[in-house]
Amino acid sequence: MAALCEGYTLCGLVPAVNRRSSEIKGIEEERDSDHVIVTDSSRSVTLYKVSDQKPLGSWTVKQGQVLTCAAVFNRLTNEYVAVSDNKVIRIWKEDDIILDKAFKATVSADVWSVHCAHGAEPAVLFQRGAVRLLDSLLSAPQQPVEEVLVQDEAIRWSTNIVTETQQLVIFTTELKGDHFLYLQRLKPNSVQKYRLEPEEPALSPLSFWASYRDKNICLLYLYPNGRVYQSLVSVRGPAPDDGAQAVPLPRDQLLSLPVGEELLEAASAIFLDDAHVAVVGVPHPSAGPGKDFLCIWNTNFQTLQAAKEMAGKLYGQLWSFSSKLFIPHGKALSVIPFACPRSSLALALGKLKQVKTEESKTSTVVPSWNTILHGEEAAPPKTVEARKTRTTRKTQSSLSLTIDQVQDLIKTAPVEEVEKEVQELLSRQDPKDPQPSLGQLALALVSRSLADPKFYSSRALTQLVPIRCLSHSVCPDLLPLALEKRDYFLCQLCLLFFHDIPEAVTCACLKTFISLSDADAEKLSLEPDSVSFVEMLISNERAQTGLQNGFSPALCEEDRTDAVDDPKAKAKEKQKASPQQTCPVGKHKAALINEVLQTAYSEALLLPHLKDFSSDQVVLFLRYLEFLYLRYSTDGFSQMHGYRSPSLNQVMDWVCMLLDAHFTVLVMSPVAKGLLLNLQSFVRSQVRLFSELGKIEGSLQELTKMKMKKDVGQYSIEVIELY
């Protein structure tokens, strides 16, 4: 699930009072993902090291001159390129201190912008639509520049994209309310013009974004009414003849963002990956009318994945370089790291059956792992941890390993070192704000384990599973691996934390757990709450008094023994048929089975796998379920205690499924006869109970119908109607 991490300020801004846009003209990536150059709207270009939040260098044009487009960095030559006063192209290197002494060239027409994509030559886009490569332009600066655009047509936005074979400059223009997209190919030069479908009522797009994907250019644009459209443009050459003709550009609506009643004023939307769009300046759907939100939407599921409220005014400007969002807001330019892991449906929806109970459990469950995993030297208090996180953020890269580095380490290092590093990495994580990319670690660990049979780090995995950035669909091999390695604690954790385990795997787990010998199971160390729940269940079995839920064993015996008159036979019958009151499995085994009982499943998919069970397994499992059911219906504690436990409904569902899957086997088997008889008597007592409840239902409903007399006070004026 996409996540926005804690942001930090890159630099301050002079707050713009009246202007709609901020003073930032543009942000471009410099030599690597950690360096950016920021061009402000007045006169200066600043180079920042992002992770250190500090400027490395700054260049300013002379008083009276203005930078008219964002500076770009040419990686091929390690030079910066910018344009001042529309016509003067300036080129300098990092060690040039004074900009005026660096190279300048005046060209014959006004320049709109300079673009320089990764590993490509800088291209210059003139205001009238012509495009030149910088080298060829500088070879003859005063060369005539043709006019591509007609009178009154003006460029609104431009970018450039480098594909495997080609470099393209893309820009959009506006002419009398119509919007056009120009696709300018360089080497060989060709231009393709598209007309954007007009958006009613005569709205102009607020922002554009283009990315290259699968041999197509994907254009994303946002309208003030909150609609986000995507248009795909093939990069392959067009039919040669229709170069001048504007081709209508088909569009797909990706999202319809909630905007409230007003139209958006300053907003923009950019692609983070093929399924996620970051939007700024659009109100949060559930947070009232304020528009100061940065949101990540999943376009596949139309879900809001992450949102962050930004302090101060938003300018509708947003840049994204290598999983960091740059957003000017209020008086600052903030950098917000984000993560968009590939989403599974389970993650996108984010919620499954027991999400509520689990949320309340996390606080109790988490510390107990610490006690198992670290013994008594419990984890440091969280506050200290948090402070540490903050202080280490800046020095992170130098002192300890980043996630990527740990990931590399996993591929080669021995188990001990991996475990140490993972633990270190996790201790630095803010437990409330885990990074989704941690899931990658698990993936790496699993793939290493699969490839290298000797490598298996149970500790690292058990630490990774509970941080909630994993799911079965992210790491499908984890649970089978754990089963194979007989790491039942990890299995239990997976069952606990993964909501998308396929029924086949669930059944495999169940089968393994049932056929586990009790002696082996007792040696396991399991999640302590689940074990103590079973302990409580077993210890209470003798102390039970009274009957709950309408079921009493004595009562059901009477039902059954109507026909038997001989007291001896009766007693015998009684003894034989007395319901199972001892737990048929050991407590550790029971804890594991309980975990299976609580997983989400779809009945139709589960049934075929249940049929694979042997009859012994079925009888054992059924006896355990019967035991659970009996405990629940004869004691009051089923849902009252604080433990995570299978609900009565879950137990019932499993009993039904098991009977469905193995009915003929169970009927034939002499072992199961008593069991089935007991179950039948349960059912009968329940049916009787519910029929009694049904009788009083009507009278109880009358109670709710009784409306409270409203207090009319001393005086009121009412309107009555007579018919």
Binding site: Q714, Y715, S716, E721
Partner: protein, 686 residues
């Protein structure tokens, strides 16, 4: 049919007074009820328990301890030491006689109706009075005792049993011999406190039954003076005993200060044997407070306390829920304490010792929906106290439709005030000179143009007074010859031509006000009219009676109207007849002459004369059903009686000139909340 804007008024803090004493006249089936504020009311049990007379409005400082019928004459005695006889025709005390014995606790008449015995507290004597034609005369004192609390005549008149402190004394009225029955005190700590014999009953077979403050009901043999049996009934006091008056005195009920009523019956313990015993049989609890007064008729127990009168039929076998077996509670007086100035939107509330004049609130919106926002709150304009403490209480009051005249009457006097109410200025001016003829008034009413004041006066006459800007002038006294019973309803017609009067002899007379003489009399009906009104356009007189029957009488043709005949032919719906509170006012909708608006305590109803009458099998309360039906079907399903039960415990419903309704509610819970705390009892789980 229509929407009505309703002013729902709950700020009338009407507080009925507690019932102190009751006396039942089994010959006339009239129940006299005395309240703590000194008021006496008469209920006619033969006529659906209708409260036909508010005999006398109370008076500060007068407390009636005992009531007694002697024949058709009603006597009372109280702690002021006087015996009072009431004039039931003119609704006032006829005379009072000082008994010279200090506060009087009890009064009792012998069965022949010739002698009255009365016990004094301070000197402890039983005083005998002879009942003469026009007065009572002191005859003699029985020998002096301690304070006498209760008395009972032996039916033969030869003996009187008197309950006092720690004992019962039996006087032989002929031989003057006495003997004493000593009553045990309570057990435990209360042993040191003397026991009060609150009530004593002397039966025909010389059995004496007593109820005392130790919570015992004891049965004595009056001849030998032996205690036969003791029933411990309550931890608190047994306050009152009542013997069934008609049969062979085989049933006695006792009221306690817990609010319970216990019945004892003289029956054989095993079927078919002759030896009868007094056995405790039934216990009722209809009251939250002390039961101070009880009456045991052949079929019903009537008890009064916490301000309500409860009639509980004592049927041995209740077949089903019939009207006869239903419990009745009479909480509100069967007359109007609220008068409404239709044109001015004012309400006048009558309290025993003061009047309150209120202006209704306003709402500026007419939005459909349950409740409208109140723009202007109702405000109390005037609180008018009767002049002096210790004076008579107000017996009736009236407000003119225009809101500029206000009048009230006590037993002794009538007051008339001129009001001038502008938006922020209120002036009230007493009209000083009133005609001499305005006296002994028990009903007041203004004409619809506010130029005439009608007052029902003594001997069933009506005094007509003309009102001017400044003064008032006696015009005429309307009389008829048939009856001398007091007029309890005055109803002038809208056009000022007619005045309808109804008296407690069930007569309705219509006077022509132009000619100032009797126009006609409506054929007498056996049940007393509870509300009478003349239709403004058709000139028909509509009357509703205590037995819930409705009649419409054409004043022009002097006969019952066709609608009325049809109603009688078809009969009223059973549910209408089963209601147990009388209709106390009738109004007409000026926009729709076919509409008659009626109300009782639990509903108000609009009768649409143009619609078919409901048959016995049709659903009577059908408003909810009609609401759910579409418009055309609604017309087919609807019948003449449109009943609205949204408002309960109604004291008054009035139609203002702007066609909005004013309903004045007085929820019983509010009354109960103002009662003093009852005896604390341990309740389960408290």
């Amino acid at each position: 049919m229509g929407e009505f804007k309703v002013h729902r008024v709950r700020f009338f803090d009407y507080m009925p007074s507690a019932i102190r004493s009751m006396a039942f006249n089994s010959h006339t089936e009239r129940l006299a009820v005395a309240r703590a504020d000194g008021a006496v009311e008469i209920f006619n049990f033969a006529d659906n328990y209708f409260q036909e007379k508010q005999v006398i409005a109370g008076r500060d400082g007068r407390s009636i301890e005992a009531l007694c019928w002697v024949g058709c004459r009603l006597f009372s005695a109280g702690l002021d030491g006087e015996i009072t006889e009431y004039d039931l025709e003119n609704l006032r005390p006829r005379y009072s006689i000082e008994a010279y014995g200090g506060p009087i606790w009890t009064i009792s008449g012998n069965s022949e109706g010739t002698l009255l015995a009365q016990a004094g507290c301070e000197d402890g004597t039983v005083k005998m009075f002879e009942v003469l034609e026009d007065r009572i005369q002191f005859q003699r004192n029985l020998s002096r005792q301690k304070r006498i609390i209760s008395l009972s005549w032996h039916p033969s008149g030869a003996q009187i049993a008197a309950g006092m402190m720690d004992m019962i004394r039996i006087f032989d009225s002929e031989t003057h011999a006495t003997h004493r029955l000593l009553v045990d005190r309570g057990v435990g700590a209360s042993k040191s406190r003397e026991v009060v014999v609150w009530s004593v009953a002397c039966l025909n077979d010389h059995t004496i039954i007593s109820g005392d403050s130790a919570g015992k009901v004891q049965i004595w043999d009056g001849l030998t003076g032996t205690l036969i049996r003791t029933h411990l009934v309550t931890k608190w006091d047994v306050l009152v005993l009542a013997v069934s008056q008609w049969q062979d005195e085989s049933s006695v009920i006792a009221g306690t200060s817990e609010g319970t009523i216990v019945q004892f019956q003289f029956i054989s313990s095993t079927v078919g044997q002759q030896d009868k015993l007094w056995v405790r049989t039934r216990t009722f609890k209809n009251h939250s407070h002390d039961v101070r007064a009880l009456v045991h008729t052949d079929s019903a127990v009537i008890s009064g306390m916490d301000t309500q009168l409860v009639v509980r039929p004592l049927l041995d076998k209740v077949e089903k829920n019939t009207q006869e077996s239903a419990l009745r509670k009479i909480a509100f007086p069967h007359r109007n304490l609220v008068s409404c100035a239709k044109k001015a939107g004012l309400l006048l509330f009558q309290f025993p010792d003061h009047l309150e004049l209120w202006r209704l609130g306003e709402s500026d919106r007419n939005t459909p929906g349950e409740s409208l926002p109140v723009k202007r709150k109702p405000e109390k304009l005037i609180q008018l106290k009767t002049k002096l403490q210790g004076e008579d209480h107000i017996c009736c009051s009236a407000l003119s439709p225009c809101g500029s005249w206000l009048s009230y009457a006590t037993v002794a006097a009538v007051r008339l005030y001129r009001l001038q109410i502008s938006s922020n200025n209120i002036s009230i001016q007493k009209v000083s000179k009133l005609p001499r003829e305005l006296k002994s008034v028990h009903q007041l009413c203004f004409s619809s143009d506010s130029c005439r004041l009608f007052a029902s006066s003594s001997f069933s006459s009506v005094v007509v007074v003309a009102l001017d800007q400044t003064d008032c002038k006696y015009l005429h006294t309307l009389k008829h010859k048939s009856s001398r019973q007091p007029i309890h309803i005055l109803s002038p017609s809208e056009d000022g031509q007619w005045l309808a009067t109804a008296n407690t002899d069930c007569e309705i007379h219509v006077f022509n006000l132009r000619k100032m003489k009797l126009h006609c009399s409506v054929p007498a009906y056996s049940s007393c009219p509870t509300a009478v009104s003349i239709h403004p356009t058709t000139g028909n007189l509509v009357s509703v009676h205590a037995d819930q029957q409705i009649f419409e009488f054409s004043l022009k043709q002097k006969e019952y109207s066709e609608w009325s005949r049809q109603l009688q032919r078809q009969g009223l719906h059973p549910l209408w007849l089963q209601r147990d509170t009388p209709v106390t006012s009738i109004a007409f909708n000026p926009n729709n002459p076919a509409h008659i608006m009626l109300h009782d305590v639990f509903m108000f109803c609009i009768i649409d004369q143009s619609l078919p009458l409901p048959e016995a099998k049709t659903k009577f309360y059908n408003q909810m059903i009609l609401r759910s039906l579409p418009e055309p079907q609604r017309l087919r399903e609807s019948h003449a009686f449109k009943t609205c039960k949204n408002f309960q415990h109604l004291l008054s419903v009035n139609l203002l000139e702007d066609l909005s309704l004013v309903v004045v509610e007085r929820p019983l819970v509010d009354i109960v909340a103002q009662l003093p705390a009852p005896v604390r009892q341990k309740k389960f789980a408290t």
